[in-house]
């Protein structure tokens, strides 16, 4: 059996490296031969080409994420036409069935962002920063957009880079120049969440600014456990890599397949749960 | 050309030089190293804009905004640094900026065969047998390179031909070729400006001689009104000659 996974996240992205770990675990558990592929940057044109390349190899199953249905649709339809069972994961729950995918595992970035927004609003936030480490990456932009909708209050998107020093300085600058900010949402725990917490401490507003972040990192979870940060949003993306592969393997072997979509998250990790997950996070499972 | 001045930042390279060229005449420009000869002819051929002064062509004031303008006005120049692209072939350098074309409209293309043939011919006329027209200029010897530049200027020269130390790196045979060429184009009615440090070369072909010193003209003399030795003294800039001069027996 050969199963190919094509996603839009890079192998060195902490979020996607966990997905990949799930894929690898599934490969080990099912004995199938699984390939994980992704473009080097958020690049829909390239991703379409990777799907085409996968279809050419006639695998027994194909797992894709669908952040842009317009761009990827034709390639996915071509796979379906070629008789390859397709499962979508992570993004694209709304279009997955239409394009002919068997089912979808995971959840929209937008919905997850919305949920985070609601939670932070509940905690009394009125004025928020959405710290985006890769503006233009549609899946990250959607997290911010969802957050804006759920939060309701004033949200400013703060574009930064992957460099923790720069993120910390920028967040610090934003906090210094705007004393009203009371909420920060980071779009990645290691790259943005940890430096954001450090920045809040540095300007002496620890406890007055709620910090939440997408995804998990051991450092950020520790901050959550210590009460320096509010929560981390876990999509349990390990499942998004693990389940589709297992489903497709079972499908190929026995023709068994679940009947509906599987939502993998979101799951808010707050102070109570944080310390349990630290170890798993350090190993790249959560 | 009248009262040309040229400053580079705080350096005054030319402090008022006047000069004229007549058709069919070879005007030699002489002077010590750093006197400003090259700067002066660069002003004449549109490379530098004069800080002060004006250029008149056939009575009308002119202002060249680029060497291409000057070329179109009929001035061809051999620069001291030759203005060659080392990585390009001899032919491409020869015709740079004035490529011969063939065909029409969309199919207008460079006539490479003709260009190659002309280049080889002109070079042979100057006494250099090139190995091939597509050798890169950067791999030519110093004299070969200089010959390419001279052949190019002569080939395209129209009204005025300016030569900045054209014979400095040339062998005996090539030098006499160049002097002969100057003589020939002069007889065709072209005005020639010839810069050299070699008094013998200057006396051989010059009709008038102008000596520059430290950015100023020391004066102009007609042929016959001055002897080679006088000229030599003028060129040395009036400073006492190095003491060994005598012992070397006037060989320079």
């Amino acid at each position: 059996q050969q199963i190919i996974v094509v996603s839009h996240g890079q192998a060195n992205d902490p979020f996607w490296s966990v997905v990949k770990n799930g894929v690898e675990q599934a490969a080990k558990d099912t004995g199938a031969k699984v390939d994980y592929r992704a473009p080097e940057t958020f690049d829909m044109v390239k991703m379409g080409q990777l799907i085409d390349a996968a279809v050419n190899q006639q695998p027994d199953g194909l797992v894709v994420s669908i952040p842009d249905a317009d761009a990827l649709g034709p390639s996915i339809e071509r796979a379906v036409q070629a008789g390859i069972p397709v499962i979508s994961m992570n993004s694209g729950s709304d279009v997955s069935a239409k394009l002919g995918a068997v089912l979808h595992v995971g959840q929209d970035e937008f919905t997850a962002g919305k949920k985070a927004g609601e939670k932070l609003k509940e905690m009394g936030g009125k004025n928020a920063l959405c710290v985006n480490q890769e503006v233009g990456n549609v899946s990250l932009d959607q997290r911010c957009a969802g957050f804006e909708e759920g939060f309701g209050g004033k949200v400013e998107v703060l574009p930064t880079s992957n460099d923790p020093t720069e993120v910390k300085s920028k967040v610090q600058a934003a906090l210094e120049s705007n004393q009203d900010v009371d909420t920060i949402l980071g779009l990645g725990a290691a790259t943005v969440g940890e430096p954001a917490v450090a920045a809040v401490e540095a300007v002496g507003r620890g406890g007055k600014v709620n910090v939440g972040s997408f995804d998990l990192s051991a450092g950020f979870l520790k901050d959550v456990a210590d009460g320096k940060a509010a929560f981390a949003i876990d999509q349990q993306q390990f499942l998004q890599g693990y389940l589709p592969v297992v489903f497709l393997a079972l499908d190929a072997k026995y023709g068994l397949v679940p009947g509906g979509n599987v939502p993998s998250g979101p799951n808010l990790i707050t102070k109570e749960k944080a310390s349990q997950v630290i170890d798993l996070s350090a190993k790249g499972i959560r | 050309m009248r009262d040309i001045e040229k400053h580079f930042g705080n350096i005054i390279a030319l402090a008022g030089v006047s000069f004229d060229i007549r058709p069919g005449e070879c005007h030699c420009l002489l002077g010590d190293n750093g006197a400003g000869k090259s700067t002066f002819i660069k002003t004449m051929s549109g490379v530098h804009k004069p800080t002060k002064g004006e250029i008149l062509l056939e009575g009308r004031p002119l202002s060249f905004s680029s060497p291409r303008d000057a070329m179109e006005a009929g001035i061809a120049t051999v620069y001291q640094d030759l203005a060659m692209i080392p990585l390009m072939s001899v032919t491409r350098n020869f015709f740079m900026g004035r490529e011969p074309t063939r065909g029409k409209w969309l199919f207008k293309r460079m006539d490479i065969e003709r260009a190659n043939a002309v280049t080889m011919d002109e070079m042979r006329r100057m006494g250099i047998n090139l190995r091939g027209p597509d050798q890169a200029v950067g791999t030519l010897s110093g004299g070969e390179r200089q010959t390419v530049a001279i052949a190019r200027a002569v080939y395209f020269g129209a009204k005025v031909l300016i030569l900045d130390e054209p014979t400095s790196a040339l062998g005996v045979r090539q030098t006499s070729n160049v002097l002969a060429t100057i003589d020939r184009v002069r007889k065709q009615g072209v005005g020639v400006v010839f810069i050299t440090h070699n008094v013998r070369h200057a006396m051989a072909v010059g009709d008038r001689f102008t000596v520059l010193n430290r950015g100023k003209t020391l004066g102009t003399a007609r042929r016959g009104a001055i002897t080679g030795n006088e000229l030599q003294d003028l060129m040395a800039g009036g400073q006492e000659m190095a003491s060994l001069e005598g012992s070397l027996g006037g060989t320079v």
């Binding site: 992704a38 940057t41 390349a53 | 490379v47 291409r68 203005a83 990585l87 490529e99 207008k108 460079m110």
Partner: protein, 368 residues
């Protein structure tokens, strides 16, 4: 005068075979690299890489990159850089998308209008560089940021808050100009070939390869035209001269300014061509389109033998450079190597390709 004899034999020349002469051309190194990489993948990759569909598959990204790379190569030969082409792809994509979707223009209007805007930016780039004498690296770098940022802002305005503009395919419908810029060419021929069994088919009966993607045709055509211009026209000579030594060229009467500005316009238009093709093909555009493409284009040009200092290089070299880059980026997926190793692999292959090409060239030309 000396006699003007026909070209004579020169005893100072060793005999030189035709092959040796060929290898002295700048692009032939890239060809050697290309051959080496092909052999490598023939051995290591799964067979599907070199089926017809596999070839089309790696040629499509190579073609898109290649169009940019040839433009970048011409500009580099002319002695300048354009770091803004990647951002230009995003910006032109936005402009084109907005024209088509938001303003509902037909392609006959939208495409020329997009090219006009791109050309204007090219002129702007070029004039700043030439006016100020600043290095083009820094000027176009500023435009790298400006255009990328403008695409983001523009997208948000055009879509009302999203960074992705969709619905281009619907808006275009079956505009008569679309086939020139999207989809596959020679589809009829290919389905006929498939019926004859020359081309593989899917179980559903459709040919695995429906035709040749148009970008490949654009790519090949552009490479041929660029080579012709470089080697056989006065303009080509001017490009080499401007890049070789700006002063010497302008002293010899080459209109250096005009040449350089035209080249900046050309690269902007190359970026726009790629933008139009990918936007129609994908049906959408987003703020990350063309990200890092400026570097990939320069990489391809350098693999193809262009010198960063200008004055040397070839369009055919950039052509093969782009194909090498395309093969390497897609090739790993056809092998059994883990994706984590992708970058190590990419770097090693690049190094191997240029080392091999260098080795071959030195061997053949006998340089020390």
């Amino acid at each position: 005068m000396a006699d003007v004899s026909p070209i004579i034999e020169d005893e100072r020349l060793k005999r030189e075979g035709f092959a040796t002469k060929l290898m002295k051309r700048p692009e032939l190194g890239a060809v050697a690299g290309f051959v080496a990489i092909t052999l490598f993948f023939l051995v290591t990759a799964s067979g599907t890489m070199f089926t017809l569909s596999g070839i089309m598959n790696f040629m499509t990204p190579a073609a898109q990159l290649g169009i940019l790379a040839i433009g970048a190569a011409l500009l580099m030969i002319g002695g300048e850089f354009d770091l803004s082409i990647g951002s230009m792809v995003a910006f032109s994509g936005l402009v084109f998308g907005a024209f088509v979707v938001t303003f509902g223009m037909p392609l006959v209007v939208a495409i020329p209008a997009t090219f006009a805007i791109a050309a204007a930016i090219g002129v702007l780039n070029g004039s700043i560089v030439l006016r100020t004498g600043l290095p083009s690296f820094i000027v176009t770098l500023a435009f790298l940021f400006i255009l990328r940022g403008a695409s983001l802002v523009g997208l948000k305005v055009a879509t009302g808050g999203s960074t992705q503009l969709r619905g281009v395919r619907d808006a275009i419908g079956d505009d008569w100009l679309a086939p020139l810029f999207s989809g596959d060419a020679f589809t009829g021929l290919f389905s006929w070939l498939a019926e004859q069994g020359v081309i593989d088919r899917f179980p559903s009966g459709l040919p695995k390869v429906p035709g040749i993607p148009v970008e490949i045709l654009w790519f090949v055509a552009f490479a041929l035209v660029a080579t012709y211009v470089l080697l056989r026209t006065p303009q080509g000579n001017w490009i080499f001269a401007s890049g070789g030594d700006e002063n010497a060229a302008s002293n010899s009467g080459v209109p250096v300014r005009r040449v350089k500005i035209s080249l900046f316009v050309l690269t902007a238009c190359c970026a726009t061509l790629v933008a139009v093709i990918t936007v129609i093909d994908a049906g959408s555009t987003d703020a990350r389109r063309g990200f890092m493409k400026e570097f990939e284009a320069i990489i391809a040009a350098v693999i193809g033998g262009c010198l960063l200092t200008g004055g040397y290089g070839s369009a055919i070299g950039a052509f093969f450079g782009a194909i090498i880059f395309g093969m390497v980026t897609l090739g790993l997926t056809y092998t059994d190597i883990d994706q984590d190793w992708f970058q190590v692999f990419l770097g090693a292959m690049l190094l191997a390709a240029v080392l091999f090409n260098n080795f071959i060239r030195k061997r053949v030309t006998g340089e020390r």
